[in-house]
């Protein structure tokens, strides 16, 4: 299957531009395979992040035709024979070179709430064969989050507020409040109840659209708004 890859190029000290690479890949290939073909056959200076090739590490996120994608699981056949795929680095993150961004905005944000998705193995199951822990009526596995940062890239608020906690942090915070696991939830409430926290979200749901897994960060932020809002109302009337 023949494709043209129009790849964003940037080397420190030079002006950004696009280079177009014609590649021939099998119909079963994914976009990452096509980029690797261009790197392998045509230009060894193309820089891009990748590791696992199966949507597990979350390191290869980028834009294909202006939409956030994990190229390792984005089939080239979705774009058709002879298509030109415009490949850009993720938005809202500093570009180190070509398609490789400085991903520290992702990890700095997750560190703010204590890296909640790093956790011990447990027997919690979603198939209903085992009872949920006491106090939980339902749960969504936030551990689906790959920390790929595609939601940060897609979020329009991130384009103007570098201090915005962002969808992945707020979704993780909502997950923590639903299942605190011993963390200081007052600190989490203080963090998210802020002008750069949950109230900065303007509900465009681009994060949910961009998320390659079933994290639904936009929906989680709405649940978080409800939690924080109800808490403020209770506090206003003298409640805890």
């Amino acid at each position: 299957m023949k494709l043209n890859l129009k790849i964003y190029r940037y080397k420190p000290g030079s002006e950004p531009h696009y280079d177009t690479f014609p590649v021939d890949v099998p119909e079963t290939a994914n976009v990452l395979d096509a980029i690797e073909r261009a790197w392998d056959d045509l230009d060894r200076t193309i820089m891009f992040r990748h590791a696992c090739h199966h949507a597990s590490c979350g390191s290869c996120g980028l834009l294909v035709n202006d939409q956030e994608k994990l190229p390792c699981v984005t089939p080239v056949k979705d774009y058709g024979e002879g298509a030109t795929l415009k490949i850009d680095p993720m938005r809202n993150m500093p570009v180190i070179t070509d398609l490789a961004v400085d991903a520290s905005p992702i990890y700095q944000r997750m560190a703010l709430i204590g890296l909640p998705i790093i956790r011990d193995a447990e027997t919690l199951r979603a198939d209903g064969k085992e009872p949920l822990p006491e106090g939980l009526e339902a749960f969504r596995r936030f551990e689906n989050c790959l920390e790929c940062g595609l939601c940060l890239s897609a979020c329009p608020v991130m384009a103007t507020d570098p201090q915005f906690l962002g969808p992945l942090t707020l979704a993780a915070a909502e997950r923590l409040l639903a299942e605190p696991r011993g963390v200081d939830i007052e600190r989490i409430y203080r963090l998210v109840d802020d002008e750069h926290g949950v109230w900065r979200c303007h509900s465009s749901f681009e994060c949910t659209e961009a998320c390659p897994y079933e994290v639904y960060p936009g929906e989680a932020i709405m649940r978080l708004k409800r939690k924080v809002g109800l808490r403020k109302i209770k506090q206003f009337f003298g409640g805890a």
């Binding site: 035709n65 570009v95 329009p156 570098p162 749901f205 681009e206 709405m222 809002g229």
Partner: protein, 131 residues
């Protein structure tokens, strides 16, 4: 050698960059544009009302202008802006309270359809008056 990344350029115009965006973002853009339009209209409205203080002739001149097709078309745009902003505002309020979140996209389409239906009905009513 230290490599300095290309910094992120924070551009408010990115709020209006529709490339690759989906329906929720379109609603986000419409919300902002309609808000700016409605604020401008409020000030325009106050300026127009001030004609009453100038005298009957000034007001009569404005009324004659207000009946021109171009201004009536602006009235239709105003009504569509109010409907789009108000109905999406109700949607955002509901989902902000965690109500109907799984159906937020359906609510968006319902709001859009109601905006179009009532926008067209308003246009028909306004221009029927001029015949």
């Amino acid at each position: 050698m230290e490599v300095k990344p290309k910094p992120v350029q924070r551009k408010p115009l990115e709020w209006f960059n529709l490339k690759g965006k989906r329906v929720g973002f379109w609603a986000y853009v419409v919300m902002r544009l309609s808000a700016v339009g409605l604020v401008l209209y409020l000030f325009l409205h106050l300026v127009i009302l001030s004609q009453l203080a100038v005298g009957p002739a000034a007001w009569d001149n404005f009324v004659a202008l207000a009946k021109s097709p171009a201004v009536l078309l602006l009235d239709v745009v105003l009504i569509i802006g109010i409907l789009a902003h108000g109905l999406n505002g109700i949607r955002l309020t509901l989902i902000g309270f965690g109500l109907g979140v799984p159906r937020q996209k359906l609510m968006l389409w319902i709001g859009l359809i109601l905006t179009l239906v009532f926008g067209v009905l308003s246009a028909l009513a306004i221009f029927a008056e001029t015949k």
